[in-house]
Symmetry: none
Subunit: 260 residues, 2 copies
């Protein structure tokens, strides 16, 4: 299931390392089918396999073609990737939009492909003309060089992004402690800080207590977090450098909110 | 204008080529500031410059740090990238969502960063603990290896993709204190709790300290909130019911983090 999706077609790739990096990027994002048109150094290519970093299933399945027309003969819809929009009246898409379009076609049973040009100078106008539409990447105009492995990575990433098939990060859904738990902490602080002269002058106490409540409410601490916090406060309250925990103080056995 | 945005921080990168590819990926998508923590082969590194493929402005501006804490001291908000979600209660975002959050913070004038780990084994739990939230990539679970240059490329790409897109307002409108401020609180707690025998048994101390850091990192306290918190802790640490504040204790005049 994770090896369906558009076929990646590299036109006259030069370096085996790049072919391998392309295979690795495809594997990262669940694409499986790689085709090469006239790879400069022939095929198979051991440098490609080494750079593929165990994406052997893709390297083993590579098909080599003598012409681009042959390589796309069985496909229903083809995107060409270019660094700049060309003057040839084809629709130009961004990667996200292109991935959405590819998913739509995939769902209808179409076979699709994405063309990537040579390392040095990309695709010729004749090659772009064989495609249906163009994809360009929203790169910094002042620094637009993107190598083919990076371009394949971005398209593969967008393919998987639009699939929802990747590992979805779990929702961060921490349950805040109940208000009763929180109020227990505030009462405790009120008591131990009062005993230490923290609330001074006395007429400022309501305002200071309000600040404390705001401070400990905003983070929406969990029960576990409140436990750790209580342990820290209790350690400062009950022990001192001269009488540390474990020095025989009777409180030790009943110390609340102990963290371990 | 195209060189604003989050700082990229590589923790103990090994290969100069990767550092160069990272610089190139940043340049492609308009990021400009690269920091290195203890690069294995030192700095400057000619292999990095060669691989950067003329992203010289980024290579020339690289800053090297002896510790991750130093490298993020001036930042308000930090993402850690990890291959897998970790068990440490930090929110986990996808790249798109993370880029939106970074834009929101950028618009408010916050300094942000994204951490990337070593080629072989990423970030340690202690390093992840220094970050506010986690980014993971939606990779094929069967083939999840993503090299650091690719990971930086995807985050840089998403940063540019989300430029001008619906900027996601952060959940609250408070600027987190810098990491330096936060670390100062953690160091203080380490010291005063150590003196009280809090970290017991001794071999659990690293884990307990990590819990404390997580506890005080997650709320993204503001400078003002850290001040109030420090005042509470200092009150418990320095005073007692028998010797409250205002009873003539010499510490009173130098009590830090005083609230009022």
């Amino acid at each position: 299931m994770l090896c369906e999706g558009p076929t990646i077609i590299l036109v006259e790739p030069q370096l085996g390392e790049n072919i391998g990096m392309v295979a690795r990027a495809m594997a990262n994002f669940g694409l499986g089918e790689l085709r090469l048109v006239n790879p400069r150094d022939g095929w198979p290519n051991e440098k490609a396999r080494a750079a593929a970093s165990r994406a052997d299933h893709i390297i083993d399945g590579v098909a080599v073609f003598a012409s681009l027309a042959d390589a796309i003969a069985d496909l229903n819809f083809v995107f060409a990737t270019t660094a700049r929009p060309r003057d040839n009246f084809k629709p130009v898409r961004g990667p996200t939009e292109a991935a959405q379009a590819l998913h739509g076609r995939f769902a209808r049973g179409e076979k699709t492909g994405i063309l990537f040009g040579r390392e040095r100078w990309g695709l010729t106008n004749e090659e772009v003309a064989l495609a249906d539409e163009i994809v360009t990447f929203p790169v910094n105009p002042a620094f637009a060089s993107l190598n083919i492995a990076q371009a394949v990575l971005l398209m593969s990433y967008e393919w998987m992004q639009q699939t929802g098939a990747g590992v979805k990060p779990p929702e961060h859904d921490l349950t805040p402690a109940t208000k009763q738990h929180l109020e227990s902490l505030i009462s405790y602080l009120d008591e131990v800080l009062e005993a230490r002269g923290y609330f001074r002058p006395a007429d400022k106490k309501p305002r200071m207590l309000e600040n404390l409540r705001a401070l400990f409410t905003r983070p929406r601490f969990t029960v576990e977090e409140l436990g750790v916090l209580r342990g820290v406060l209790a350690s400062l309250e009950r022990f001192s450098p001269k009488n540390p925990r474990g020095a025989g103080a009777p409180e030790e056995r009943t110390r609340p909110g102990e963290q371990d």
